[in-house]
Amino acid sequence: MTALLVLHDVGDAEGGARWRAALEEAGWPGPVRAPDLPGHGRSPAAVGGSYELADPVLPVLPSVPADDPDPPVVLGVGTNGWCASVLALGGRASALVLVDGLGGPYRPQAEAMAAERLRLRAIADDPAALAPPPVPGDGLDPRLRHGVSPLGSRSMAERSAGATAVPVLLVESPASPVGAEDRAAVAARYPAGAAVVEVDGPEPELVAPAVVAWAARR
């Protein structure tokens, strides 16, 4: 009865609740843990309003101890696919599921840094993003409307894939920021291969049956 740990996408105002409900409804054969990450759902905002790409790893670390004899399957959605990948790389997952979670759009570092400059300037000019955060449960932290910089490096995505030892499922929807060619290149790097499933959209209700079916086949 392997547990499933879901890291919902950055900016998902509902946090983990909809994912938990969808995966339970689809019949995941074990506990589903889908925490509201900082600034989402009912969780308080990050201390000092600091949101960086891998930060969501830290609050979930206590739930994935290194000595767990039955580590969870970790599912990462969108930008937080990188956090799920980090947990899998670090030996904290028995399998990895990425929902539009390979990062991207992949681009040269100069373009990625230019996009980050624009993002920071937008935050600096947005009074709501600088104001004290809402109380937990009172909606998405407005700062998260500016997102966080995604993994924009295809070479890093490939290196990460090449070092991931656990089974992998890639769930890709038309909303994925990664094109077919990039996806194929990254998927080919997983040492044990990666199952790829295409779905009509990234919504939990569309993704959950594919995840449960994959788990049943394993």
Binding site: A45, G48, S50, L58, A66, V86, Q109, M113, L130, G162
Partner: protein, 295 residues
Amino acid sequence: MPPPEPDRSGFVELNRTRLRVWDWGDPAAPPVICVHGAYDHGRMWDGLAPELAALGYRVLAPDLRGHGDSGRLSSGAAWAASALDLALLARHLGPPVGLVGHSFGGGQALYVAGVWPELVRWVVNLDGLGPPPAALSPPEDLAATTADLLAGAERTLSRPPRVHPSAEALVARRRAVNVRMPDEWLEHLVRHGTRPAEGGLVWKADPVFGAGLPAAFDLDALHAEHEAVQAPVLVLTGGEHDTWSEMTDEELAERLTHLPTARHHVVEGAGHYVHLERPDVVVREIRTFVGEVGP
């Protein structure tokens, strides 16, 4: 003899945090913000700041978030949030400002200048052009490195800060790392960088600052940051071998090619803490620099 106390100090609330800011000089003078390095604090400028104030500036030295008396962190270095803090502090003061940064703070100063060019008049970077190329290369074994980083973050988050028995013990620890730093500065940085705790002293710097996780930041990204800087830049590096000054002359020269507005001066008789070891040369070089590029 310890350096004089700052003229003023206070707290500034911005960007959802609270920054302790140390303050010297005429409040109506053009502002200069001095940015300390990782695990240090604003009082490291107690020597240089009065000298800059004497050149006709108001000098402000914040404790960066996660350092000194400023707000805490929930995750590692908080690079973007810290840069945002500095930009909003510059706006609060009335831009454009001069930025003087050491080490990590030098990197922050360049980054702020690249993101918000309208806020920054010039930058003085004190041995803060980033780690050597090898340190920005991907690890040989990404999985093992990630496992180590996760274990390190777990330890940091689950344990209380380490208690040290005495100031003398902390001075000795820093001396072992900062091998060239003068004793009076080791003592000064420990005095203002610690707080009492049961059984001794703990560093004020938030241990969470060190909770790093894998990222895609590499040499190309660093070059892109530097190439975005439009303001005039003065880079001062020490001529002596030192910990934290790990770039070869060739690597440093190559790094500078990505900072087209920079001029570089090697400060003989100094290592990584250029401004603490040779404040006379640093003040002289800054005076010459601002004489050429404007206040």
